[in-house]
Amino acid sequence: MKHLWLTAWADIIESLRAKWFIVYSCVFGGIVVLLFVFGITESRIMGFTGLTRLLITYIQLTIAILPVFILITTVRSVAGDREAGVFEYLLSLPISLSAWFWGRFLGRFVVVFLPVFLAMVGAVIWTSIKGADIPWGLFASYTGLLLAVAWCFLGIGMLISSMARSADVAQGLAFMIWLTFLLFLDLILLGIMIREGLPSETAVVLSLINPLQVFRTAAMVLFDPQLVILGPSAYVILDRFTETGYIIWAIAYPVLLGTISAFTGYYLFKKGDLP
């Protein structure tokens, strides 16, 4: 266990000094600052104002950039470390492969989750200073969703890093996977449904196994519990899951997917050449 925490700590230290982390933190911190600057808290959408409005906008933007950011930075730095000889040296030290892999996973999780979370915390602190109400329920639900999505894409990133032997291949794979998830949000899904006469159940299943779609729908559920903006498909979600059930699914499923991906990545890492 000591080696696992040592590796996690070393990975955090390495990441905090990396350029990608500075950019990553600036992007999410910058989004919150910009939302305040442009007066999102004063605007109104479907009855929401103040911090609720800001969190809704923040989570929508996060859906677009968080997964690809996590995927690309993870595969570039992990596969890049392998190429640059970091693995060759550090894995010559007496550390078990499980402590190394899971230590890096946990360290990286802290590093990718904290800036996104701290940006929200910053917004909460600022709002409380201004004397506005804090929607703690919404804040907790969004934290859970962000945690789940970060875990999910980090697991996928670690799997890709174990599969690809070079940073370029890893980056290409990561981008392809993100693009596939993205296209299956609407574009391909709708196209296939129309052309092939896809049964609605299949479309629903595809939506339920796409972590991006799950995250997106859950974010909608939180500010639009009747899912008016989704139209008829809202009936499927609300009838099968209920609002709370869907939020649980939206947190549990990405965590499970990320964990399975990470375990598969660990298996491949352990069985193959390390550097």
Binding site: A10, E14, Y89, S92, P94, I95
Partner: protein, 285 residues
């Protein structure tokens, strides 16, 4: 102590190790030489348990692949290319010492003997150090723990003559207790450090021989070089070995015993202007 039994390693369709057989015993100090692509690095990575392979590698009867921690606890490794680690020097030493159950003070002590100040370096990122500083730090980590096997890949390539001499002294202090495997492209770079030479070519051992050398690892040769005429290029080359001269004709300095072949190799480039060479061995205190 170390046994390679019919090791084969293939990358895609290229067979890099073609049935490598080798026994390494306690007290062996081995120069592992061979051209690029001979399989030296692959062999080292198999020994470190970093590669999968066909055959069997055993270190004290243990497999480095399945019993990593037990095997690597006894191995100190210095890579040819320092990894681009961003962590601070102090953090790297703490991290390595914690993993190896070693005393970081031992590593710092070796670092200071190699001429670096830990207090000056501890707050600097490893990746920002010069090539020589990185090499010295990695040597300190490898030698500052109780390793019974030292695997050194071109260890002295980036060291200045003074640091090389201290490095040889450090190896001399350990030579009876540890197995050394020193990889190099050229035998003359490491000949004086070793008592056995293994040459590899295209994945197999093509030469396995003893090296007889009377020069001690920690000896120093008091040297005097006389040249026929002052020469700017020669002066620059000899100053790199910390030699001094009054008028540029007669040069005085010290050469570490194990470095003498390398030093003579440098002098051979200026054979036309050399008048006299005198080298006398002095036991280092």
């Amino acid at each position: 102590m170390i046994k390679f039994d019919n090791i084969k390693k293939t990358f895609r369709r290229t067979e890099v190790l073609k049935g490598l057989n080798l026994d390494i015993n306690k007290g062996d100090r081995i120069a592992l030489v061979g051209s690029n692509g001979a399989g030296k690095t692959t062999m080292i990575r198999c020994l470190l348990g970093e590669y999968t392979y066909e055959g069997q590698v055993l270190v004290n009867g243990k497999c480095p692949r399945t019993e990593r921690e037990l095997v690597l606890k006894d191995i100190g490794f210095v890579p040819q290319l320092p990894p681009p680690l961003k962590m601070l020097v102090g953090q790297l030493i703490e991290f390595s010492a914690s993993l190896c159950d070693a005393d970081p003070k031992e590593m710092i002590s070796v670092l200071e003997r190699l001429g670096l100040s830990f207090d000056e370096l501890k707050a600097r990122p490893f990746v920002k150090l010069s090539g020589g500083q990185k090499q010295k730090l990695l040597i300190s980590i490898a030698l500052g723990r109780n390793a019974k096997i030292l695997i050194l890949d071109e260890p002295a390539a980036n060291l200045d003559p003074e640091a090389r001499h201290i490095f040889f002294q450090l190896l001399a202090e350990k030579k009876d207790d540890v197995v050394m495997l020193i990889s190099s492209h050229r035998l003359d770079e490491v000949a004086a450090l070793v008592n056995r030479v293994i040459e590899m070519d295209q994945g197999i051992v093509i030469l396995d021989d003893c090296v007889e050398d009377s020069v001690e690892l920690d000896s120093v040769l008091q040297s005097e070089i006389k040249i026929k005429r002052a020469d700017e290029a020669f002066a620059k080359a000899i100053k790199a070995w910390n030699f001094e001269s009054d008028g540029g004709m007669l040069w005085h300095g010290q050469v570490a015993g194990p470095d003498r072949l390398r030093f003579l190799g440098v002098l051979s480039r200026y054979a036309a202007i050399l008048q006299d060479i005198h080298m006398e061995e002095q036991k280092n205190d």
